[in-house]
Every structure is written in structure tokens, then in C-alpha cells.
């Protein structure tokens, strides 16, 4: 029984597997990633099984999720951007379901590790760079040269724009990672306060109600943040893909 807020982020090997000296163990992180994929797939596949023209409640929920992400992508990247819809929808569903799985007590939050969010963010940025270069050739670098800039300022503006582009994968990954990390640490810290106050006898137990109410409110906030961070990841991905499709401001 751990009483510090960091223990929840520890990787534990559930099934140790070693192939040729490389560690391929099935960890708690791998378990929850599998559960994330299973839950997202089950929701979408089973809800749409009936294929009714007049949708049932579950099918309606699946269709609303689809339309929500499709609308976001279409608005940000245009109708040409819809070719990236499977990519963006997968990212959105993975982040959303992984964040929501982490809300249950004692469950592991997959997205609270920088390696997971950095992998997704690198996938997005590499897609942007390579697709942008493949499609626009050298016109892609128009992205760093905004229109209507006096020639005197141009060198400085280009450097700043390049730095701003390089900071995109960093901020994209750290935003999701830090939100999940900070949220869960705060929850555990308040839970620790409940236990600490409760050990002071009857008056302590009465006082422990306050951090308990705070923990309940924080849990509600964490649900909001879980959904919000998935939406923000999706919309930023859509905006970056728009830059790959239509470079130049």
C-alpha cells in the first residue's frame, strides 16, 4: 500500500519476457494500452453492428464521436485534410480512452509517461514534415516565411518561425503528459491529506471531510481534463496537418 503520490507511475512487469537480451516484458503500461485499444474498438465496432438508418443510442454515440472529430479536422484542415481522418481519429480515441481508463482507482494512466506522448507527438510531426515535403517539395519552407514581412526583418522572423515549428512536438507531448501527471499527483496528494488528518482522532476525521470533498471536485475536474486534452491533441494535430497541406500563412 503506497502512500506517496509517485508510486502510481511506476512501471511493473506483469509478464517478464526477454528475447535476445532485449526486454519485451508485458508491463502494466502495455496492459492498459491493450485495454484502451480493446475498449475503443469494442465501443465503435459493437455500436455500429446493427447499421440502422435510424441509429440506436449506442450507434448514435459512436456516430457523434465520429462526426465530432471529422468536423474538427474538416474545419482545421479543409476537405483535403480528411485523408488524415483515420490517423487523427485513432489519436483522439486512444488519448481519450487511455485518459479515462486512468481515472479508475489503482489503474495505470498510460499517457502519464512522456515516452508514450512523445511517441504520438513524433508520429504527428514526422507525418507533417514528410507529407509536407513530399507534396509541396520546397514550397513547404514557405511555412517559415509569412507574407507581408519587410525584408529587413525577414532573417529574424524566419529563425523565430523555425524555432516555433521545432517547439511544436515538444509542447504537444509535454502538454498531455504534464496534464495527466499533475492531475493524478494532485489527486493522490489530497487523498494523502485525508488519511493524514483522519489519524488525529474524532476531530481529525471531521476535518478530513474537507480534503475528501476537494478530492471529489478534483476527480470531476480530471474527467473534464481527460476529455479536453484528447480534443486539444486532435485539434492541434489537425492544425499542424493543415500546415503540411497548405503551407504559407
Amino acid at each position: 500500500m503506497a502512500t506517496d503520490p509517485i508510486h502510481q507511475f511506476q512501471i511493473q512487469k506483469l509478464i517478464p519476457i526477454e528475447i535476445g537480451g532485449v526486454d519485451f516484458s508485458f508491463t502494466n503500461s502495455a496492459l492498459f494500452m491493450s485495454l484502451t485499444v480493446a475498449a475503443a474498438s469494442a465501443f465503435l465496432i459493437l455500436s455500429s453492428r446493427g447499421r440502422g438508418l435510424v441509429p440506436t443510442r449506442w450507434q448514435s454515440a459512436a456516430e457523434m464521436t465520429y462526426e465530432f472529430v471529422a468536423g474538427t479536422l474538416r474545419e482545421s484542415a479543409g476537405s483535403e485534410g480528411m485523408r488524415f481522418f483515420p490517423f487523427v481519429f485513432s489519436l483522439f480515441m486512444f488519448v481519450l480512452v487511455a485518459n479515462l481508463w486512468g481515472m479508475f482507482p489503482y489503474f495505470f494512466t498510460v499517457t502519464s509517461h512522456i515516452v508514450v506522448t512523445a511517441a504520438m507527438s513524433m508520429a504527428v510531426i514526422l507525418t507533417v514534415i514528410f507529407y509536407g515535403l513530399w507534396r509541396n517539395k520546397l514550397h513547404f519552407f514557405k511555412l517559415f516565411v509569412p507574407s507581408g514581412v519587410p525584408a529587413v526583418l525577414l532573417p529574424f522572423i524566419v529563425v523565430i518561425e523555425v524555432l516555433s515549428f521545432v517547439s511544436r512536438p515538444i509542447s504537444l507531448s509535454i502538454r498531455l503528459f504534464a496534464n495527466m501527471l499533475a492531475g493524478h499527483i494532485t489527486l493522490k496528494v489530497f487523498a494523502g491529506f485525508v488519511v493524514a488528518l483522519g489519524s488525529f482522532g474524532f476531530v481529525g476525521v471531521l476535518g478530513a471531510i474537507l480534503p475528501l470533498l476537494a478530492a471529489v471536485a478534483l476527480t470531476a475536474l480530471e474527467f473534464l481534463v481527460a476529455a479536453l486534452q484528447a480534443y486539444v491533441f486532435a485539434i492541434l494535430t489537425s492544425l499542424y496537418l493543415n500546415d503540411a497541406l497548405h503551407p504559407g500563412h
Binding site: 509535454i174 502538454r175 496534464n179 486534452q229 486539444v232 485539434i235
Partner: protein, 74 residues
């Protein structure tokens, strides 16, 4: 000064960043409410941008919290 003491002081200073992020968030939502009261019909259409602006501003506050946590627990 010992490294551990400096860690705690640094974590406290990093929390100032969260206060300034709070100022930014209040600015965003205040402007949205001011506009929504003037033109309620247009408010719902801009809700998505409001949430996006909230999330990227909140991210800066969270980055400073991350620095504080790294100082405390890293």
C-alpha cells in the same frame, strides 16, 4: 546551500508561473463572456476556439507545475 534546500525553493518559485497562467485564463474567459453577453447568438459558434485557447494557456501553467514537480521529485 544544500541541493535539497535549493530544490524546494526552486519549486516554490516555479509556482509563480501557475499564478500568471491563471491571469491569462481569466483574460480569455472574461473576454469570451464580455463578447457573449453582447452577442449571445455568436457565442456558441466560438466555443470550440474558447476551449482550444483555454487548453494551450493552461498548458503553460502545467509546464511550470511540471518544473516544480521535477524539482521536488526528480
Amino acid at each position: 546551500m544544500e541541493a535539497e534546500a535549493a530544490q524546494f525553493i526552486g519549486a516554490g518559485i516555479a509556482c509563480i508561473g501557475m499564478g500568471t497562467a491563471g491571469v491569462g485564463l481569466g483574460h480569455i474567459f472574461g473576454n469570451y463572456l464580455a463578447g457573449a453577453i453582447r452577442n449571445p447568438a455568436a457565442a456558441d459558434g466560438q466555443f470550440g476556439r474558447l476551449i482550444f485557447g483555454f487548453a494551450v494557456t493552461e498548458a503553460m501553467g502545467i509546464f511550470s507545475l511540471l518544473v516544480a514537480l521535477i524539482l521536488l521529485f526528480g
